[in-house]
């Protein structure tokens, strides 16, 4: 089975902190994605990567950046966390379809 692992289930950070969310997949997938999930809005794509060191903006990239130095790892970075970035963050990976998801990281910014 595909395994997508997010490093933290719950995080609490202060406004202005730099925050790293890590995601690792074990199936040699080319594509990796970061979504945020908010009630009533479903999942919205922040960034995705289709190869090492390649990245593209999704629908809501503002306030975020990403890093993919190795194929199995895709990091989401909040350069200066703000309270409106409090959310559930979900990582996914895929070779073709479908995409497989991690358990999610619930981030609270206070």
């Amino acid at each position: 089975d595909v395994k997508v692992t997010q490093s933290s289930r719950y995080l609490v950070k202060r406004t202005g902190e730099k925050v790293f969310l890590e995601c690792v997949q074990d199936m040699d997938h080319e594509n990796m994605f970061w979504y945020r999930q908010d009630p009533g809005l479903g999942l919205r794509l922040i960034y995705f990567s289709y190869d090492v060191k390649m990245k593209e903006k999704g629908d809501i990239p503002e306030g975020y950046s990403v890093s993919r130095e190795k194929k199995e790892r895709f990091s989401l970075i909040l350069e200066s966390a703000s309270t409106n970035q409090t959310s559930m963050y979900l990582c996914a990976s895929s070779l073709t379809d479908p995409a497989f998801f991690g358990q999610g990281t619930r981030l609270t910014v206070v």
Partner: protein
């Protein structure tokens, strides 16, 4: 860009009753369709998918969905629900997106299914 509409945000239903969760998407060529399920405090799990072939697809736990190209719909149905089916259900569409570099999933806003005893 694709858009996915799940018209019902909340669907309460009694145990053993039938249920339908509706999903409509904006028209495009070469779309793949999915239903994902999310149990409380967990990530998303793939429930079923339509890639090609038969327009009726089934899951191992009794759900089915039918791809209707003319109505651009992919409604999810189950003839008899259980308490354990209580969860949030997301419809998603996959296409190549504007850059063409990878297939991307666009999600609906989700439907909370609550099965009552």
């Amino acid at each position: 860009a694709q858009s996915v509409t799940q018209l019902d945000s909340q669907v309460p239903v009694f145990e053993e009753a039938p249920v339908e969760l509706r999903c409509n998407y904006s028209s495009s060529v070469s779309v793949y369709l999915f239903w994902y399920v999310q149990y409380p405090n967990q990530g998303l799990q793939l429930l079923l998918k339509y890639l090609s072939g038969s327009t009726l697809v089934e899951s191992i736990n009794g759900f089915e969905a039918e791809f209707n190209k003319s109505q651009t719909s992919f409604h999810l149905r189950k003839p008899s629900v259980h308490i354990s089916d209580t969860a949030e259900y997301f419809c998603a569409v996959s296409d190549w997106g504007s850059s063409g570099s990878a297939r991307q999933l666009t999600f609906g806003s989700g439907t909370q299914l609550t099965v009552l005893p």
